[in-house]
Amino acid sequence: MRFATRTFLWSFIPFVVLLLGSFWAIQKLVEHTVRDGLRTSLRQTHVSVARVRATSELQNSRFLEILGENAALKAGLQLLLAAPHSEDARRTVEDQLREICAKLGFDFLLVSNPDGAALAGVMRVGEQLVGMDVARLRPPHRGFTTVGERSYQVVSTPIDQGDENIGILSVGEPFDFSTFTTPAVLAHRGKVLKSSIPGIPLEEVEAALKPCKERTECEVRLRGEAYISLPMDSISFGEGYVLRSLQSIDAASGPVQGILRNVFGIAGLGALLATAIVTILSSQSIVRPIRGVVAHLKESEGTGLLPEFRAKPARIQEIRELAESFNRAASAIREARSNLHRAYVEFVGSLASALDARDRYTAGHSRRVSELACAVARSMNMAPHELEVIRIGALLHDIGKIGIVDSVLQNPGKLTNEEFALIQQHPTIGRRILEGVHGFQDYLSIVELHHENWNGTGYPWGLRGDATPLGARIVHVADAYDAMTSDRPYRRGMSLEQAIRVLRQYAGTQFDPAIVPVFAGVMAFNQQTESANGGPGRVHLLPHAVNDAHEA
């Protein structure tokens, strides 16, 4: 996982958790508040409905008081009481009631005997006032009564003749929810008679209200919407009747919830963006230096070098410390490497010295060839690491002679063909020896090919011209020169001039024609310096390390 991702997650997740938590808490709070508000509004509705009801009941009861004193009605009632089974008598009273209803605009008018059993009544059906089937009808003194499919709210007054009560007159209003500003439900013993909840059939409302206790507040679910339902207890509605008003919690809290969702959504999005930006910025200050270090390390993977980290000092202390310790480690490694290198160079030097020491005539040959070759390479402006390759390659160029018996190698006389063939094997042997040594691959070409001639007459492969690497060609020239100028048991060494002459003579055949003049130039310069210094000069062109190694 990337550092930025990790930082982002670690900073964003708590934020999201916090946001969600507070969203939940606020939502709960809103719901609670909304519920309280709805309850209050339902109560207020109840109070106002009760007030309206009370006013209308009072008015009805005033009408009733007057109607109760209606002499004709009293006469009718007396007639009906005297002939309780007479159809005509009932019709007579019904007719009277009909006339009263028509005059006063009532929808329900009923007379009962003093025991409360209905005797005759009319109610409005459509435009008509029709007689009621009064059998088994016992309207309450005050409250709801249901005739057929209709529910009426009834108020009653006694009809007295003198001191005697001869009956009860009840006037009813069809119950509707017009005074309710909220949806309401009228139920009788659990059966919903009337509902003003739009679009939901009574059976469904009834099923939803089933769990509610008769006189308690409860919450119901209708078509997935939550309602708070409060029974109206400020008016009595008669036996078993309950009037409940409902308020949709969802509808009331919906807008607020919507706003909340939006606010929190925006806050969440903002937090996401802010966290992302902050994460990117903050992680950049850490990641960039680290990336620099990584790139640095990757580079050193390729080069094998571990240079010090030279970026401008970071502002973050930890990063600065990291850079510093990296640099310390780098310099320590470099130190170790150079120590190793020195040891290796010393080893190579001593190997060369050991080789040279086998024969007093060739003593110092490898060192001298190395110095000469380096001098030539330098004057040819070769790169330092190529110089280093030439220097060590030249030191080791005759290492293959280890594998050649002393009798052949130190033979002072003329070599037989077989002996010469043996001698000619030394570059191949040298190559074979060094092949297995880790880190010596660069020198193999010099060791193997330093006897190849320009015209292809050399050994072991007979390569021509440029096919032989430059390093090997330089070492070839230097080797030949040193061989010519060294004493041999069978001859004295040539002078410098003679040797140069010979070299010039064979330039283009045995030697690279481009190197020979350079070599001659180098030797001439060397001689000049020598005479100027007034003593035998040395080719001071090699790195100190090599000189040191030799002196050691």
Binding site: A75, G76, A89, D95, E99
Partner: protein, 237 residues
Amino acid sequence: MAMMIKRAVAAVLLSVSVVGALTAADVQGTIVIKRKLTKRRVTAPASAYERGVTVELGAARETDFLSFERSRVAIYLEGQFQTQPATAVLEQKNRQFVTDTLVVPAGSTVSFPNRDPIFHNVFSLSKPKTFDLGNYPKDHTRTVSFDRPGVVFVNCRLHPNMSAAIVVAPNQWCTKADAAGRFALPDVPPGSYTIVAWHRAAGFFRQPVKVGTDRASPVEFIIPLDENGDAKVVAQR
């Protein structure tokens, strides 16, 4: 009151002097009413009770209200002389007395059949005759005889709106005007009389009339109206 009695006595004397002297003649006349005097009410027809149909109760939309007014005028001659008791019917139908103005000579018997499917009651508290026939249902009837002349108002206890007037005339010469306002009292013996017209809303109107041997001068009653359009009651009951 004293005045009325005097007049009555004078009329009686007058008529007695005339009666029998010569052959009788018809008294003919017209009632002129120029304004509507009564607010009639609509009541449900009897069949409506069975069907439960409501009728819009209230003022009836009459077209010929003057005919109605004219037909409600009772006309008789003042003075108790020759009477011939009759039998009349005052029906209770559609919660109304039919007719609402009945004229009978003194001594007549009136029956009150109930034609409605509901109970009715007939009673009167008027001075010439006080009675209460009680409640009785459809197709039952009760009878009352009216001996004393005068106007008897009849009501129903169960239906306070129902009301009828029975004009008990002192003699046999009594009638009601027809829709055109015309009336005739046949075979009145020659002499001078006071002819009385009575309208329920307008009250009594009196005029002297002279009946000759073969013809009587035509009588015209103009039921006058004051500037408010109400009938001017010219004489009390």
